[in-house]
Symmetry: C2
Subunit: 348 residues, 2 copies
């Protein structure tokens, strides 16, 4: 039997509950499709930080390196640990350390879900750059606390970094409906975003079969609400992709439905799978978190591991579940009920 070594980081808040749900579904999928998930769980979280002073041990990255994949629930508990500490201590370094430069986030309505838009038939794949750009962590503060304080944040875009995410996006577009929209803000950010536009045009030459559009981030935000059905693959920087994928989550019915794969395309390190939503301290521990995004992310992981049939079966089980009206409205079904329904559909 094929065995995959999976590092599991449940994290904080509802991250823990939805990770449990996703792991249960993975076990059912394994039993059905003949593989085993050998899971090693790591307690790295804000609680861990309060105990040890770090979000993960000094050798955390080295520990993760040997795994076939990483599954992460959600990180953050702002009441006790500032997000700027918790995220920069765990989530963001993992994305960067393993060159998980392609963050893949699909946005479409599962059956039975009434989203906030009147529009329905959209199917968007957002490819977010995941390792540099506006979240490089560069910048500083001078004259802190004084009248003349200045804070800077430096967005850093490398040619290699921009080129590889664009190529990745073009490959995805080629495998889908053949259209790619590159999102920048080159009318107001004349260094980084003009550079990104140029790189888009350059890489596009290698993909004559893909039609390319340029759109500014503000116009794209409006587009996703006004006419999401016109969009196919979107490629965007770290920040812009972050914003657009929460918006994508919203139009697909909410954060409870938005899956995410942090992919290291050259497989020099493990990829990481996590729902788009956060730890949601306000609803933690109440058995009401929607595990659908987490389970969808697990399906992305199965696909990445080469278990395409299992991945498709999990997606079909999710769709069967929402089609029946389970998990489609906030609070109507518990986390456990939704998970059970997906497992039942999957074993059927």
């Amino acid at each position: 039997m094929k065995t995959y070594n999976l590092a599991v980081i449940p994290g904080d808040g509802i991250g823990v509950h939805v990770t449990d749900a996703a792991m249960e579904v993975l076990d059912v999928a394994g039993a059905k499709f003949g593989f085993e998930m050998a899971k090693t769980s790591f307690p790295w979280s804000c609680e861990y930080y309060l105990e040890t002073g770090a979000m993960m041990p000094a050798d955390g990255i080295e520990t993760l390196r040997g795994f076939d994949a990483i599954y992460l629930g959600a990180v953050g508990w702002p009441e006790t640990v500032p997000d700027s500490v918790s995220l920069h201590g765990l989530l963001l370094p993992i994305r960067k350390a393993f060159n998980q430069y392609a963050n893949i986030r699909p946005h479409r309505l599962l059956p039975g879900i009434e989203g906030p838009l009147r529009a329905t038939g959209f199917d968007i794949l957002c490819i977010r750059e995941n390792t540099e750009g506006e979240y490089s962590g560069a910048g500083g503060r001078v004259h802190q606390g004084r009248e003349n304080e200045v804070a800077t944040e430096v967005a850093i875009f490398t040619r290699a970094g921009v080129e590889r995410i664009l190529r990745f996006g073009f490959e995805q577009a080629r495998a889908r409906r053949g259209h790619l929209t590159s999102v920048t803000k080159s009318n107001a950010q004349k260094y980084s975003m003009v550079f990104w536009d140029e790189m888009t045009d350059l890489v596009a030459k290698d993909y004559p079969d893909v039609t390319v559009s340029h759109m500014h981030i503000d116009a794209m935000a409006a587009k996703m609400v006004m006419a999401p059905q016109d969009l196919d693959v979107i490629v965007a920087s770290n920040l812009f992709g972050d914003i657009l994928t929460d918006l994508g989550a919203a139009i697909q019915g909410g954060l409870g439905f938005a899956a995410s794969a942090n992919i290291c395309p050259d497989r020099s390190g493990p990829s990481m799978f996590e729902p788009v939503h956060g730890s949601a301290p306000d609803i933690a521990g109440q058995n009401i978190a929607n595990p659908i995004a987490a389970i969808w992310s697990a399906a992305q992981m199965l696909e990445h591991l080469g278990e395409a049939a299992a991945s498709e079966a999990v997606m079909a089980a999710l769709e069967a579940t929402t089609r029946r009206g389970v998990g489609t409205r906030p609070g109507a079904s518990s986390t456990d009920e939704i998970t059970a329904a997906v497992k039942t559909a999957l074993s059927a």
Copy 2:
């Protein structure tokens, strides 16, 4: 009769048409409420750039300084002049030169308009920082065109700049429903946005009557689609405000409805009024641009000039027009028809 000296910059594309519309409505308002708009028109635009090599003359800013207000249609014609040139040569320098640090953008549905959302009863006032932050124009490119090229964009936030926009936002919140949401991304941008969060908490102490929320830009983008009715005043940085106001335009039915005032609160220079939409080269010259955003912006200008009754009358005329179904759907009424309907309603 009171006379206001107005600098008019129609700009490019549909900017010209909607400016004409707004000026006609202003004349009707003046006749009714007893003031005169003495308009001086400036041809500064991409066409002007192609003729002269600059978007405006070297003394353009000095020329504008003496006016009571500036009205701008839209700037940009990317086919002939890169946006990074046209915007940095005209729109952005005006905002900065006259300390128009508060960009006020209201988002609500006019009567008769069916927006893209199922939700309807929202009334949001977005206050966008307008002079620094992510659009400071700082940054650079090294090793341009080479494998090791790096492009940077430096977001610069000054204490004075952040404090004044927050105070402005709190004043607005106090005059409305008493709630302010400060939008940052302090979980991933640990210098600039952590600073903004701290400043929010500091300024909030002076406004105990205003309730304050912090929200990340990604969550806010989702919120504006999922539950816009929960929002009152939003305060955001230059980039975040830019994105959220296009999104705001989308939920109010489209860019044709989104007004914008670039305010210099201390009145040390003229303020500038312009619709949120751009020059829309694809529909220029066809008499189909919706002038409602432009006319709404003119109403904001009247209010700023102290003509509150005239401003309210223009808004009432806009509402009467859309309530009748004129201008509510793209292409159904021409620019001229909508303008005529507003003028008729205003003179009635």
